[in-house]
Amino acid sequence: MASVVADNIVDFELPMVPLDLTKRRRIHWGRGLILWLAAAYFIIPIYAALKFSLQDISGKFSLSPITAIPSQPGLAAAFFLSMRLAFVTLAIVLFLMVPTMIYVHMKMPRFRRFMEVVTILPIVIPPIVLILGVLEAAPLWLKSSPYLLSLVYVVLAMPFVYRSLDSGLGALDVKTLVEAARSLGSGWISTIWRVLVPNLRSALLSATVLTLALVLGEFTMASLDLWETLPVWIVDFDQTNAHISTAVAMLSLLGTWALLTLIVSIDRSNSRRRRRIRAS
């Protein structure tokens, strides 16, 4: 089993190109330039927004917009609503997609082509069209619940979840793993839970990270469904206090990033430790 949990799991991490020590190291000017330009393009706007938000009345630098954040009306409710939606979405999408994809990889490979095309659609169909269709079609009792959004976010998350899991499963010999586990007397659920899921950890993690990022950033649908999620709150509050709302927007961007990096890093160090234990 340990051989399967190998380093070459196709993974959310960017590919590792091993350092070739035998050859002279080329200096890659072009590569460096790309990285620096990209860094400037992505970081300067964040800097500009932070510079605007961290001002007091006289226009001087101040942390008061940040210290004022916790007491803003409605923010806590919006934050927790977004969190609840994120976790419900994540639970549904994994519960739906993981067993389906394992099964498809084992028994119906031809169905993958269909899934691949179908799971592109949520990215290409404009959210504004999709949510209007959903609101027209959904029954009233569902429409009055914020979790309708979760149900729609599941569809939006499918492209990312499908691609993560497909890569992960592609790198495993699912059939052999399952047959080995089954012949040792393991039931289906425990096969999935104790054999496949640990081997798919990276893929699941990547699916999780992408789903959380999606739900915590989605605006159009939440605003049309008239629920005040965190992104909707930020936009609404812009009319009350632009400094604070910009500060919240930047904090939520950087905070989500930090949180996801933390999740990925914890997983990395765990898996390294596990590997070491197994090796010894």
């Binding site: 992505f42 500009a48 510079k51 990889h105 890093s265």
Partner: protein, 312 residues
């Protein structure tokens, strides 16, 4: 040379699974068996039907209804004959093309450059940043760029001090190209995100093998790198096209509706008018976007077929 990349040929089965029905001589038996085989994917199919197919059909249906519910073609004809709607589609397509092809190239270069880095933590940071930024947009993104590249903003004034004020050289943040420039902020990370697994499929061993056999860098890319990556790059570009076509909160916040793109027009009819009974024009525009997407899916399939021929 099958690789498990996200948008590669969906039939690749690295684990060697084969679903050919070996014993299926009797057609009915095969049918029953394949139906039974399909049972576990039913929840997925049901979800897609309810969450994607039904809402889409509802929109299509409403596009052909008058506000009294009778079948009509008048909404469609309003759109075809109303110049502003055609302008909207034209602008949307331009924007989607500009914000898919360019970010596809830039994103692939960036992902590759990151991949070559020796810093593990940098890779991790970029990977999660891509996930977050690919989902960022709207009012805050628009404001970030106004504060950075606006007429009197930070970067503009830096460049102006160097005598290179972009605004006096034809740059306008509030025009279509300016909007495209802002879209790169989520389109490039989206590309990095979805092309990275494909770059993973580019095993270093292949390159070493090619080099050992005396192949030049160019020959490696021509015969190995590009053919392996091409389906993924095309598929990702198409995905970016769809994302560029459907994004709208950013354009609306940045331009205050002064650039007509279809999603904003849809929003204007479906959010803005409570009384008028003109919502159906919004639905018809939605239907127009669905048709546009079907056409582009067709174009994508053809392009992929053509490119795989070219690469052989």
């Amino acid at each position: 040379m099958k690789i498990p990349s996200p948008l590669s040929d969906g039939t690749s089965t690295p684990s060697g699974v084969d679903d050919k029905d070996r014993g299926g001589r009797h057609i009915t038996g095969t049918l029953v068996r394949s139906l039974r085989t399909s049972v576990p994917v039913l929840p997925f199919l049901a979800y897609i039907t309810l969450g994607l197919l039904v809402p889409t059909l509802v929109i299509i249906n409403l596009a052909f209804r008058s506000d009294r519910g009778a079948l009509t073609l008048s909404n469609i004809s309003t759109i075809v004959h109303g110049g502003e709607y055609l302008t909207g589609f034209e602008n949307s397509i331009k924007l989607a093309l500009a914000t898919s092809i360019i970010p596809a190239v830039l994103g692939t270069m960036l992902a590759y450059a990151i991949a070559q880095s020796r810093f593990e933590f940098l890779k991790r940071l970029v990977a999660t940043a891509s996930g977050v930024l690919a989902n960022f947009g709207g009012v805050n993104l628009a404001f970030m760029f106004v504060a950075t590249f606006g007429a009197n903003a930070i970067v503009t004034s830096w460049l102006a001090r160097l005598g290179l004020n972009p605004w006096s050289h034809g740059f306008d943040l509030y025009k279509l190209w300016g909007v495209a420039f802002v879209y790169f902020y989520f389109q490039v990370p989206l590309m990095v995100l979805i092309i990275t697994p494909a770059l993973n499929g580019l095993r270093p061993a292949w390159r070493e093998a090619a080099e050992n056999l005396g192949a030049s860098r160019w020959r490696y890319w021509r015969h190995v790198g590009v053919p392996v990556l091409m389906p993924s790059v095309l598929g990702s570009t198409f995905l970016l096209f769809g994302s560029g076509l459907s994004a709208y909160a950013t354009t609306e916040a940045l331009t205050g509706g002064t650039i007509a793109i279809t999603p904003i027009q849809i929003g204007a009819y479906l959010q803005g008018n409570v009384i008028s009974g003109e919502e159906h024009i919004g639905y018809a525009l939605g239907f127009g976007m669905i048709v546009l997407l079907l056409i582009s899916i067709l174009g994508y399939v053809l392009l992929r077929a053509r490119s795989s021929k070219w690469l052989q």
